[in-house]
C-alpha cells in the first residue's frame, strides 16, 4: 500500500511536469516568445552543405540524400517558411499584464553554406518600436552585423522585442514584416523569413 502511495506521488510529479510543459509549449509555438530557426543561405542563393554535414537537428531528422533548405528556414516549432505570432492566443497572464510586448527569438541562425559568413540582419516590422537583444559577444548593433565569421554549421543568436500600440492590437493583421539575413561583406541576400503578427480574436 505504501509503495502504491509513493508511486502515485511520483506519477503526480511526472504529470505535473508534462502537463505544464505541454501548456508552455502550446503558447511558445504560437503566441509568446516564439522561437524559430533560420538557415542561410537558402533557395539556391549560394552553395549549401548537405544536411548531414551541418549536424545538429538536420543530421538527426533527415536522410543522407536530403539537401534542401526551405526558404526562411525551418521553424523550431510550428510551420515552415513563415513566422506567425498570434496575440489573440496569448495566455491569461500575458494578456492581462503585458499584451503589447511581443518577443521572438532565434538561437539558431545557422550557416548551412559551404563558406563562413559574416551576416547582417534586417528586421522590417512596419515601423513598430523594436529592440534587439543578443548574448553574442561579436555583434555590432550600429551596422546590425556580426563581427565574427559564422563557420558552416555554426549558429548565431538574436532576439527581438516589438511594442504594439494599443490602437493596433485589435487589428486582424498587425504587421506583415520580414527578417532578412545578408552577407555583411557583399550585401547579398542569403535568406528571408516572413514575420507576421496577427490577432485571431480581432473584431
Amino acid at each position: 500500500m505504501k509503495r502504491i502511495g509513493l508511486w502515485s506521488l511520483a506519477l503526480l510529479g511526472f504529470g505535473f511536469a508534462i502537463g505544464f510543459g505541454l501548456w508552455a509549449q502550446s503558447l511558445f509555438t504560437k503566441a509568446e516568445l516564439m522561437h524559430f530557426s533560420v538557415n542561410f543561405p537558402s533557395e539556391g542563393r549560394a552553395e549549401t552543405t548537405s544536411c548531414c554535414n551541418v549536424g545538429g537537428p538536420w543530421a538527426r531528422e533527415h536522410g543522407d540524400d536530403w539537401n534542401d533548405y526551405p526558404a526562411g528556414g525551418l521553424l523550431a516549432y510550428g510551420d515552415e517558411g513563415a513566422l506567425v505570432v498570434d496575440v489573440g492566443q496569448q495566455g491569461l497572464i500575458k494578456r492581462t499584464l503585458q499584451p503589447g510586448l511581443i518577443s521572438i527569438s532565434s538561437h539558431w541562425l545557422r550557416n548551412v553554406g559551404t563558406q563562413p559568413y559574416r551576416i547582417q540582419i534586417e528586421m522590417d516590422m512596419c515601423g513598430l518600436d523594436m529592440e534587439w537583444l543578443t548574448f553574442e559577444a561579436n555583434w555590432d548593433q550600429e551596422t546590425q552585423s556580426s563581427t565574427r565569421f559564422i563557420e558552416p554549421g555554426d549558429t548565431f543568436s538574436m532576439d527581438w522585442f516589438f511594442h504594439i500600440p494599443t490602437e493596433q492590437r485589435n487589428q486582424a493583421t498587425i504587421c506583415a514584416g520580414e527578417l532578412r539575413i545578408l552577407d555583411a561583406d557583399t550585401g547579398d541576400l542569403l535568406t528571408d523569413l516572413p514575420v507576421k503578427i496577427v490577432n485571431s480574436k480581432a473584431g
Binding site: 510529479g13 505535473f16 508534462i18 505544464f20 510543459g21 553574442e136
Partner: protein, 197 residues
C-alpha cells in the same frame, strides 16, 4: 508575542553565512558579475556574453534522456556543470551548490523566511516530497518526447537573473529597472543584453 519562533534567533548566524554564499553565487554566475562564467568563457574561447544562461544547469539534465545531445555536451563543456561537476562535487562536499551557492534556489527560501511560520503552508511530515521530486525530474527529462518544454519555460535561473539585472542594469549601461515580465509568461528569457534600438 513574536510572530517568529525563538529558534530563528539561534539560526541567524547560520543564515547570515548562507546569505553570504548566496551573494557569492550571484557574483560567480549572474550578470553583470558572472566571474566564474567569464573565466569559463575565456578558457573555452566561447564568443558569448556572460550571464547565468551560459552555464545552464537545466537543459543538460533534460539531455541525459537524449543521447544525441551527448556530443553537444562534450563539445561545449559548460553544459557538463550540472551533470558532471555538481554530482562529483557533491560526493566530497555535499550539496554545496544547491544548498549554499545557488541564488535561484536560495531566493525562494529566503523569501519564505520572511513569512511567519504560522502563515506558511508546511507540508513537511504530511506529504513525502521525494517521489514527487523524482517524478518531476523524470517528467522534465521526458517532456521533449511528447512535445513539451519544461526546463527553459519555467527556468528559475532566468527569473533570478531578471531580478538581478533589474537591480543592476545591464551591460549596455541602461538605468537599473525591473526587466520585462518574462517570469510571468511561459517562455524562455534568452538572456543576453539589451541593445539600443
Amino acid at each position: 508575542m513574536s510572530l517568529y519562533p525563538k529558534v530563528y534567533r539561534s539560526l541567524r548566524r547560520h543564515w547570515l553565512y548562507r546569505f553570504l554564499f548566496f551573494l557569492l553565487g550571484i557574483v560567480l554566475l549572474y550578470a553583470p558579475f558572472a566571474l566564474l562564467t567569464r573565466l569559463v568563457l575565456w578558457l573555452t574561447g566561447t564568443p558569448l556574453l556572460p550571464d547565468v544562461h551560459r552555464i545552464c544547469m537545466r537543459m543538460p539534465i533534460q539531455w541525459l534522456a537524449q543521447p544525441w545531445m551527448y556530443g553537444t555536451m562534450i563539445e561545449q563543456p559548460m553544459y557538463l556543470g550540472s551533470v558532471l561537476v555538481l554530482p562529483l562535487a557533491a560526493l566530497f562536499a555535499g550539496p554545496l551548490f544547491c544548498g549554499w551557492l545557488c541564488p535561484a534556489g536560495g531566493l525562494t527560501e529566503y523569501l519564505s523566511r520572511l513569512v511567519p511560520p504560522r502563515f506558511q503552508i508546511d507540508l513537511a511530515g504530511k506529504v513525502n516530497a521525494t517521489p514527487i521530486r523524482y517524478g518531476f525530474t523524470v517528467g522534465m527529462m521526458g517532456a521533449s518526447f511528447v512535445g513539451a518544454n519544461v526546463c527553459c519555460s519555467f527556468c528559475n535561473f532566468t527569473h533570478t537573473q531578471n531580478i538581478i539585472s533589474g537591480i543592476f542594469g545591464d551591460f549596455t549601461g541602461q538605468p537599473p529597472r525591473l526587466q520585462r515580465l518574462h517570469g510571468l509568461c511561459p517562455g524562455v528569457q534568452p538572456g543576453g543584453h539589451r541593445l539600443p534600438p
